[in-house]
């Protein structure tokens, strides 16, 4: 760290602290110490510090353009051969991710002012979002695995608290529990990987880990089995964070939380998980098996998520499964060592998904309904929301020349030679996503108005403003992508590939438009179709599978332990107690009162004691 660095760079450690300080600043209102004038001041303070974070980030970007990538770190804790540091990797990609995080946080916070207008615990929401934002800002800048892990777990905690925001509702209780435990399973597996890696490689800096991975590969430092276990442990954490099969069920249930948090979760939190995976990939690549698992997980998530999304009747869930599907695509790109394209996809997806969730939030806020079968005819009543929905969806699907299209084009172009099957998976996922947004658009915005939508007005300006601004940004995404990745450019794919992407998108749109969409008959009467519909609607019965394979065995094991504890351990102790009482009763009768007997007993005891000591000495 040199003093010559410009001030914004030297103060980079402030960036995650903006979010955390927002949390601390909200506490007086969140805990009810300040009741005067309502909880709004907490929201304004949070907006202010987030704005500072955005501005600080953009200053840093300007400096880094001039100076090139920088690395800063500070000691945190050192003991024996362990050196834990706080490190920041200031590259343009990391900073772009930081700006994505802080800007999305800012936009969501404005949106939340409108969405949670009448919420009594508004301040608590802002405190949690501040915590969330701080952790994410740290994750994307982090230059070492320890700090990444540290902050990922903080994200787990804040997800739990945000999902559990309306903790009095029964569904929220289970949702928060599942969100925490699923992610925690991933985190514990990741921790196993982190601890092992720390012991093996010595340092936790990503660059040192890459160097170690290189040496380990050349010199066969670790056995293939150890390498595979390490790789699997390392991918488990991001799998949980990015809601990949089979650890995806939390994202669906997490939709019970307030919508502004859902926006962040579906756009930037999953992005953070994928970025950590990307940073770990050179170590994971030590094991071919782990890479294959990563590829398989991505594929299953992409296709499975896309299919399950189509069968959902809940507005938010229809898109949360689509998030799983898109992150599956990112996992595939990472597994096939295409981190550049994976980043572009994350960027395009993050912005467009956030916009989509904002329009969803607007619909829920005005209609108080998120059931697709009860919505309809909103297109004319909420034009801005409808436009935002269309722009967001178009930004995701590969059809119109927005972010999604260029990403699909690049991916298919790069993979059609090496893995044609995977290229096909991308096209199928695109069709599924297109079909999904089309059917949702039809049932929400088209058709006759329903009782719930008849009097729906357009949203207030606090929600409309961030939504429209974000729509403009989504329209500009291709231009930004071109600046992030100028070589070889986002259009470096052939015309047939482009046509294939457009064709797959068109197929999806057509399928979505032509499929029967009668709210009353939304559940088919044909048994086979019904079976399939249920299978998808209930997410391949994943919760039930979990209940049978994990929850029940652990619960039985716990009950068995309690039984053992009560019957065997306590039983033995109590038995010993009873035995000694009984012996005492018996011994009472042997008391004779004769001095000689006592002396004899004492002498015998001393002899036995000394004898055993002599034996011990003999042993030694």
């Amino acid at each position: 760290m040199s003093d010559a660095l410009p001030l914004p760079l030297q103060l980079i450690w402030l960036v995650p602290l903006y979010g955390f300080s927002g949390m601390l600043l909200s506490l007086p209102w969140a805990t009810g110490w300040i009741k005067l004038n309502g909880p709004r001041p907490a929201a304004y303070l949070n907006l202010l510090v987030t704005l500072l974070a955005v501005l600080h980030g953009s200053l840093v970007i300007r400096e880094i353009y001039a100076l090139g990538p920088q690395h800063l770190d500070f000691p945190w804790f050192q003991a024996a051969d362990l050196n834990l540091r706080i490190g920041f990797d200031l590259s343009l990609t990391n900073l772009a991710a930081l700006e994505l995080v802080t800007t999305m946080s800012l936009v969501c916070q404005v949106f939340a002012l409108g969405y949670l207008d009448k919420e009594w615990s508004l301040a608590r929401f802002y405190a949690l979002v501040g915590f969330f934002e701080g952790a994410m800002a740290g994750v994307v800048l982090s230059s070492n695995l320890f700090m990444s892990y540290f902050l990922l777990e903080m994200l787990t905690l804040s997800t739990y608290l945000l999902v559990g925001f309306w903790y009095a509702q029964p569904l929220v209780v289970t949702a928060a529990r599942d969100a925490f435990l699923t992610k925690r399973v991933g985190d514990v597996l990741l921790l196993m990987g982190v601890v092992t890696l720390s012991a093996w490689a010595g340092s936790m800096e990503f660059t040192d880990l890459y160097a170690w991975a290189g040496t380990a590969r050349e010199n066969q430092l670790i056995s293939p089995l150890a390498g595979t276990l390490l790789g699997l442990g390392l991918i488990a954490g991001p799998m949980g964070k990015c809601a990949q099969f089979p650890m995806h069920l939390w994202l669906d249930e997490a939709m019970e939380g307030p919508n502004p948090a859902s926006i962040l979760r579906n756009s930037v939190v999953v992005t953070c998980g994928a970025i950590v995976l990307m940073k770990l990939m050179p170590v994971v690549a030590l094991s071919p098996l782990a890479t294959t698992v990563l590829l398989a997980v991505g594929t299953i998530s992409a296709l499975g998520g896309g299919l399950v999304a189509i069968a959902q009747v809940d507005l938010k869930r229809a898109f949360s499964y689509s998030t799983t599907s898109y992150l599956g695509l990112v996992f595939i790109a990472i597994a096939l060592q295409k981190p550049g394209i994976a980043l572009l996809l994350l960027f395009a997806h993050g912005l467009a998904r956030a916009l989509q969730f904002m329009s969803v939030g607007s619909i829920i806020a005005t209609t108080n309904c998120q059931d697709l079968t009860e919505l309809g005819g909103l297109g004319t009543r909420m034009p801005a929301t409808a436009v935002a929905f269309l722009v967001g969806s178009a930004g995701l699907v590969g059809l119109l020349p927005l972010g999604g299209f260029w990403c699909y084009g690049l991916l298919v172009e790069n993979l059609r030679e090496v893995a044609p099957a995977i290229a096909l998976i991308f096209l199928v996922t695109n069709s599924l996503a297109a079909a999904n947004v089309t059917r949702v658009y039809r049932s929400v915005f088209l058709g006759p108005a329903t009782p719930k939508t008849k009097r729906a007005p357009e949203v207030n300006w606090l929600m409309a403003l961030p939504m429209v601004s974000l729509a403009v940004i989504v329209l500009l995404v291709p231009a930004i992508m071109q600046r992030i990745d100028p070589v070889p450019g986002i259009a470096s794919f052939s015309l047939p590939v482009g046509l294939a992407v457009v064709a797959s998108g068109l197929v999806g749109v057509l399928a979505g438009s032509l499929a029967p969409s009668d709210a009353f008959w939304s559940r088919s009467r044909r048994p086979t179709l019904r079976l399939l519909q249920d299978l998808l609607a209930y997410d391949f019965y994943t919760p039930e599978i979990y209940r049978r394979t994990i929850v029940r065995p652990v619960a039985s094991l716990a009950r068995l332990t309690r039984w053992f504890d009560i019957t065997v351990v306590k039983g033995m102790v109590d038995g010993l107690g009873r035995l000694s009482l009984a012996t005492a009763e018996g011994l009472r009768l042997t008391v004779s009162g004769q001095l000689q007997t006592y002396v004899l007993t004492v002498v015998l005891a001393v002899v036995v004691l000394l004898g055993s000591l002599q034996v011990l000495r003999g042993v030694s």
């Binding site: 903080m154 209780v173 351990v569 107690g577 000591l613 011990l616």
Partner: protein, 505 residues
């Protein structure tokens, strides 16, 4: 004189309370006790300031011949291993005096016993003589037995007797091992000489170390010697539980490191693989048993069994990082379990029950216990090892230090850390989330639930100790250097005792 004052203040305080003229009210006695304990904490802090972290070995030593005939010297000293525990003792006894309310029955004796425990624990941590340690180790037993058997719950006689028998057996085993060591080595001055046992052959070492392991294993407690702990906790009142979990269990782990590892490094190394497995069994057993509990206090008690297992794992691995982790784990478990018991105590006082099948929705902002619930969330997250709090850095150090020596046992212990999240999340989810309701114990959760619950508000003075403990937990979590700098030299020295004879690496 600094160390002697740490004994004199509480002991003279005990006398003063017992002889205090007139008939002081319970609240007056409480104030006096708080005053004495505050002075004691101030002296503990002064000790920390006078302590030189860079120096190896015991410091601030005081030595007077007491009963040379039997080798009992009045010898005190402090190092990086004992200083954090002395500080924890100072803080937690003060907390338990502060949270003591409505003691109407024999208040004088109650507070005197509290002070006596505090002094005895200080003595045990500071003793630089085996017999002196034993003396204090036993001295702490009687007041605790009284605290459980006089001021405990309904089933207190059973719990207190069980506690007494178990710990008395523990004391006898320890005394036996000390005497055996002195007689067999011929060094009868009972001074704490590191590596004393290498004058013995391995067989004798293993016997003596085995006795110590079982003796301290009862105190820690390790499975299957843990049976006294859940009963003692459920019957003890909240302040006593805070003391028991926060301070007294640490006597066991401290003894393990100080007298097991330091006196018997060779035999320790021989037994280490078995100890690591024992630790993993303890961790998993404690965690699984905790999942099945419905009494909050019992759940926290079993979690103690699990979490103290990490200390044994770290001690078995015997590396500089793992032993530092052991000290961290002792301190953070002290703070976190004290916080948990304190909060469960508040819930019990306000609702009259600790049953997870009875309580629902306590987070309710108007009629429930919102601040208690929030602090409970902090405490369980800290216990589950969430970063930013003391539990995480402690567990990380333990695991990081142990994984190369005992990969399997470490990974199994990490599973236990995952299970901690399961049972504590169930606790928060069941009792604090959902709609505020109290169901009669035998009733149906939906049909018979009482929804018109209006709990008495928790006064700020009741939550201040909890806030202070939570602040300590977060402080160590974000600034571990504050604790690490005190202990690092001592733990590194301890871990390198055996490197001459081929350490565990």
């Amino acid at each position: 004189m600094l160390l002697t004052s740490l004994l004199l203040i509480p002991f003279l305080g005990t006398l003063a309370l017992l002889l205090w003229p007139g008939n002081p009210t319970p609240s007056r006695l409480r104030q006096i006790t708080i005053g004495i304990l505050a002075v004691q904490l101030a002296f503990s802090l002064a000790t920390a300031l006078a302590f030189d972290p860079a120096q190896v070995g015991l410091q601030l030593r005081e030595q007077h011949s007491w009963l040379p005939g039997i080798g009992l010297d009045y010898a005190l000293g402090v190092d990086g291993l004992s200083l954090p525990l002395v500080l924890i003792n100072g803080a937690l006894t003060l907390v338990s005096a502060v949270i003591t309310r409505d003691i109407s029955q024999r208040p004088r004796l109650y507070f005197a016993m509290l002070l006596l425990i505090s002094g005895a624990v200080n003595g045990a941590f500071l003793a630089d003589n085996l017999l002196l340690f034993f003396l204090f180790y036993e001295l702490e037993l009687i007041p605790l037995w009284l605290l459980i058997s006089v001021w405990g719950g309904v089933n207190r006689a059973y719990a207190a007797t069980k506690f007494l028998i178990f710990t008395a057996a523990s004391g006898m085993l320890i005394l036996g091992a000390f005497l055996g060591l002195a007689l067999l080595t011929g060094q009868v001055d009972f001074s704490l000489t590191p590596v004393l046992s290498d004058r013995l052959a391995m067989g004798g070492q293993l016997w003596l170390l085995g006795a110590l392991l079982i003796g301290f294993g009862i105190k820690i407690p390790l499975v299957p010697l843990h049976n006294w702990l859940p009963d003692a906790h459920t019957q003890a009142s909240t302040p006593v539980s805070v003391l028991l979990a926060g301070v007294l269990l640490k006597l066991g782990t401290y003894g393990l490191l100080r007298f097991g590892l330091q006196l018997f490094p060779e035999a320790w190394e021989r037994l280490a693989p078995a100890l690591a497995i024992w630790a993993a069994v303890s961790v998993l057993y404690g965690s699984l048993a905790a999942i099945a509990q419905t009494d909050m206090k019992r759940m926290v008690a079993y979690s103690s069994v699990g979490h103290m297992g990490y200390v044994l794992l770290a001690a078995a691995a015997n590396t500089p990082v793992s032993l530092l982790g052991a000290v961290f784990q002792m301190v953070s478990h002290g703070l976190i379990s004290a916080l948990l018991f304190l909060l469960v105590g508040i819930v019990y006082r306000k609702t009259g029950t600790r049953d997870l099948e009875v309580l629902r929705g306590l987070l309710n902002p108007e009629r429930g216990l919102p601040l208690t619930g929030s602090l409970m969330t902090v405490a369980v997250m800290a216990s589950a090892g969430l970063p930013g709090m003391a539990g995480f850095i402690s567990e990380f150090l333990v695991f990081r230090g142990s994984i190369t020596a005992f990969p399997l046992a470490t990974l199994l212990s990490m599973v236990g850390s995952g299970l901690t999240a399961v049972y504590f999340l169930l606790l928060v989810n069941r009792a604090f989330f959902g709609r505020l309701a109290i169901t009669p114990p035998s009733g149906d959760a939906v049909a018979d639930a009482r929804l018109d619950v209006q709990l008495a508000p928790v006064a700020p003075r009741e939550t201040i100790p909890a806030l202070a403990l939570a602040a300590g937990v977060v402080l160590i979590g974000v600034w571990p250097h504050s604790l690490g700098r005190i202990s690092e030299v001592a733990t590194t020295a301890l871990a390198t005792l055996t490197t001459g004879s081929g350490g565990l690496g």
